[in-house]
């Protein structure tokens, strides 16, 4: 067992710790690889065009956080505390943005609010390219993440507190501020930090719709791709690591407190119908849903138009990806391949790793170190990871050098990039299992691997399926880490969206983006059906 843990720990060291060290040391070196101390940092802070990006990134992220969390909270409030109709539908729509790359909303915004935008009048002459566009895109992109967290926080409300408030004659408003809000505060804070981190590290939206509004994430890309200034790219990466790291740490602390709140014995709250309140919430959910569907619908519309805005006939011309930048249809198939590998290998790796940490005995230092490594990817922006991989894997001295430009390195980077959430899902599932299963099994002289396959895996199957779909969807949509790593035969659909947009082929970019959406949506539905089938078969014990 120790050996297994060692192997997976080695994976995390090679795929995470060493590359991060490589990027760190690069930031202290000059172009010729000589150590220059803080010279690169000094240059950075003496270049106003670069340091402005810090301010820009923070501004964008804070505004996005406020808007996204507010929308998510009001929507979650409606979904959990009102008796409005179509709750299920609204929830599904609100979660849809998870299935598309963060580049897609930006593309839609060009068609909606650009020079030739369908509804550009709504902006009252403001320019969509820049902070406005970025914020709208990021709100779209982060909304589901915030919603999930806040829904969870609201769902643990204790009905008895509401009864107490009622018996003390507290009005609705007072109850909201004294019971609802405090109860959800950790969820709100946690959602805030998650949105903040997602926004400040996102590269897709500012790339597509940011115009000349520079942010840290696009600076890294520009430094590395545009100017071949890898050292400066490393410096910006580490600066981006800072706010992401802080946000991550605060979030972890909040999560822990939230768990403590959860363990209290609560009585579930059942909302009571109230015509006016339910209608307000219904209207609000409708507005949010229209916003999301409009973004998607616009992209699909744009993809099918021959030559917007001068020739509005429908055509499939924009699907001739082979005639454009980005690697053509091959990149779509590559993305599918990447997603499958990531889902399979990632799930196995993550689940085994979590199993070792949770069920392993002794070797405490090693296990806490492993736990730390497993949490780290969440704090590392994809771009930073991707750049770190260039430094580490493309070094001629590295025996793993052969991985460079292969599908394998894309799989490794994607698994690593999304390791933390998958790991936490696995750990939560394992924690819910009786800790004595292994003791009983060993008293019955059963080897641990038999108990693992016969008990642990079947019991955790829902979580395992969740992990695999999470990894699949993210492998389809991710741009940030892989943008530095794809090779001649491993271009990806998400990167193709970026490159086609970059080359001005925005309609094909929208078409490819929608292909990713349809793929993820189908896989999601398939996953739903499949897990329902599998669950019925293997989880019949759950029902009494």
């Amino acid at each position: 067992m120790l050996v297994f843990m060692g192997v997976i720990a080695c994976y995390l060291v090679v795929a995470l710790a060493l590359p991060l060290y490589a990027i760190l040391s690069k930031s202290f070196k000059n172009n010729d690889g000589e150590f220059v101390g803080l010279a690169n940092y000094l240059e950075y802070f003496n270049t106003p065009s670069l340091t402005y990006s810090i301010q820009n990134s923070l501004t964008i992220s804070i505004i996005t956080t406020l808007i996204s969390v507010t929308i998510a909270f009001t929507l979650a409030y409606g979904l959990s505390r009102s008796c409005m109709r179509l709750k299920g539908l609204f929830k599904i729509i609100a979660l849809v943005p998870i299935l598309v790359p963060s580049l897609l909303p930006g593309i839609a915004l060009v068609y909606l609010f650009g020079r030739q935008g369908l509804i550009k009048e709504l902006l009252f002459g403001h320019d969509i390219y820049g902070p406005i566009g970025i914020v709208i895109s990021e709100v779209f992109f982060t909304l589901p993440h915030a919603l999930i967290i806040i829904m969870t926080a609201l769902s643990i409300a204790d009905a008895r507190l509401y009864e107490a408030a009622q018996s003390l004659n507290a009005g609705k408003v007072k109850t909201f501020f004294t019971v609802t809000l405090p109860g959800a505060r950790y969820g709100l804070i946690s959602a805030g930090f998650v949105v903040f981190t997602l926004t400040i590290t996102d590269f897709g939206a500012p790339k597509v719709i940011g115009g000349d509004f520079n942010v840290l994430a696009t600076d890294i890309y520009k430094q590395v791709i545009g100017q071949q200034n890898f050292e400066m790219g490393a410096v910006v990466s580490l600066i981006l690591l800072l706010p992401a790291g802080v946000a991550f740490t605060v979030d972890r602390i909040m999560q822990r407190k939230q768990v403590a709140l959860l363990s209290a014995r609560a009585v579930a709250y059942e909302p009571k119908p109230s015509t006016s309140f339910d209608w307000i919430m219904f209207s609000w959910a409708t507005i949010v849903s229209i916003f999301i569907l409009t973004i998607l619908g616009t992209c699909q519309y744009a993809a099918l138009i021959k030559f917007y805005p001068y020739d509005l006939t429908l055509s499939l011309k924009n699907y001739q990806f082979d005639l454009m930048d980005g690697g053509g249809w091959e990149s779509f198939y590559n993305s599918l391949e990447l997603a499958c590998w990531t889902a399979v290998i990632g799930t196995v790796l993550v689940f085994l790793g979590a199993y070792m940490v949770e069920k392993g005995k002794g070797f405490h230092l090693g296990r806490s170190l492993f736990q730390f490594l497993a949490m780290l990817p969440m704090a590392v922006p994809g771009l930073v990871l991707g750049l770190a991989y260039i430094f580490f894997f493309n070094s001629p001295n590295n025996p793993l050098n052969f991985l460079y430009h292969t599908m394998a390195i894309l799989v490794i980077s994607t698994v690593t990039h999304f390791y933390t959430v998958a790991h936490l899902t696995a750990v939560t599932a394992l924690k819910q299992m009786d800790p004595e299963f292994e003791s009983v099994a060993s008293s019955l002289k059963t080897p641990f691997y038999r108990t693992f396959t016969r008990i642990t895996v079947p019991v955790c199957l829902p979580a395992i399926l969740d992990i695999s779909i999470y990894l699949f969807v993210n492998a389809m949509t991710t741009v940030s880490a892989v943008v530095f790593l794809y090779g001649p035969h491993t271009s990806l659909a998400s990167v193709a969206v970026l490159n086609m947009d970059d080359a001005g082929d925005i309609a094909p970019a929208a078409a490819m983006g929608m292909m990713i959406f349809y793929t993820n949506a189908s896989v999601r539905i398939l996953h739903g059906l499949l897990s329902r089938g599998v669950l019925r078969k293997t989880q019949s014990w759950r029902s009494r």
Partner: protein, 359 residues
């Protein structure tokens, strides 16, 4: 019960978790076929001791010998025991049958033999019809029976029970107590049960090991533990006990308040030198009405608490410098003596029930 060579020998066993010493130098022998209870407050180390015996948490040092074999450093799978946990730890995704057969399947027995054995065990725990169900479909008591059947399926030499009844409600608990004890007697399997419930220990165990702060306070039969608690802790922990500040006068004499009483010289009180301050202890039910012994005093009933089959009275006496004595009287006695708050009665503290502990 063979008294020749112990089946299980625990020698100088110590377990530390970091700076915390959970068990300190524990030595104990358990004989074949015996039912032993580890009793103590939570955190006293009793579960740690059980887990050390099972090999689930290996001791820091010390030895465990089972059936003449040194198993001190063996992993659980190479030891010979079955275990039942408070949570039952039934595999939720396997049927009852599969749960019970789980250990058997490892022994490479033919399927028919396993089937027969499972049926036999289901019969044994009184659930012959429930084999196809899943654990979640059973009540707590039924789940505990399945856990028991699973533990004894591979016919282990030692059965370990870790608080097996504490998750059940009171009535089921009492019923299962008998069933487990009955089963253990029938199978003759050496059994160690960890519990914090003294009633459970007193009714089920052949011998009780009282543990406190990682140390064994006393080992003895339930009778011995109750009647002759070796230490003040045991006296206090098991049942109710009046503790009265006193001074030892001579070997069999003690002064409480202004009076001298004869007392038992058991419980190692011989080592206590005269004039040393001590505690005199007596159980409420040992206080008798009337002057049946020479140790009698006159007391006032301050209050009476009705507890069903008996009554607990708060007694005080000027001769005892205002100390309060708790006394249990049967309901009949209360009626016949017509006791109520404010009554004056004479009570006696029989010498053989009056125990002395150093301060």
């Amino acid at each position: 019960m063979s008294q020749s060579e112990p089946y299980l020998k625990i020698g100088n066993l110590t377990k530390r978790f970091g700076d915390f010493t959970a068990l300190s130098d524990v030595t104990l022998a358990v004989f074949e076929g015996e039912f032993v209870c580890f009793l103590g407050p939570s955190g006293c180390g009793k579960t740690t001791l059980l887990r050390a015996i099972a090999g689930l948490d290996i001791q820091t040092y010390g030895t465990v010998d089972q059936a003449g074999r040194d198993v001190s450093s063996l992993p659980p799978a190479e030891r010979d025991f079955g275990i039942v946990f408070q949570s039952y730890a039934l595999f939720p995704n396997l049927t009852i049958e599969k749960n019970i057969a789980y250990g058997l399947e490892n022994l490479k027995q033919p399927a028919s033999k396993i089937r027969d054995r499972v049926a036999e065990l289901l019969q044994l725990v009184g659930m012959p019809e429930q084999g196809k169900k899943y654990p979640a479909q059973l009540s707590g008591g039924q789940q505990q029976r399945v856990a028991l059947a699973r533990a004894i399926a591979i016919s282990p030499g030692l059965l370990l029970l870790d608080e097996p009844l504490s998750a059940l409600d009171a009535k089921v608990r009492v019923k299962l107590r008998h069933e487990i004890k009955e089963l253990q007697r029938k199978l003759g399997i050496t059994t160690i049960m960890v519990t914090h419930d003294q009633e459970e220990a007193l009714t089920m165990a052949d011998r009780i090991v009282v543990i406190n702060n990682g140390l064994i306070e006393q080992v003895g039969t339930p009778e011995q533990i109750y009647r002759e608690p070796a230490t003040r802790f045991v006296a206090d922990f098991i049942g109710s006990m009046n503790f009265l500040p006193a001074t030892k006068v001579s070997k069999n004499k003690v002064r409480i308040g202004q009076l001298e009483f004869s007392c038992s010289d058991a419980a190692g009180s011989a080592e206590i030198t005269p004039d040393q301050p001590v505690h005199a202890a007596i159980r409420p039910e040992d206080i008798l009405v009337g002057d049946a012994s020479s140790n009698y005093i006159d007391a006032t009933v301050d209050s009476i608490e009705f507890l069903g089959s008996f009554v607990r009275a708060d007694l005080s006496s000027p001769q005892l410098d205002g100390l309060i004595l708790l006394a249990d009287f049967s309901a009949n006695r209360v009626r016949s003596e017509n006791l109520s708050a404010g009554s004056h009665i004479r009570i006696s503290l029989p010498a053989e029930s009056l125990l002395i502990y150093a301060e």
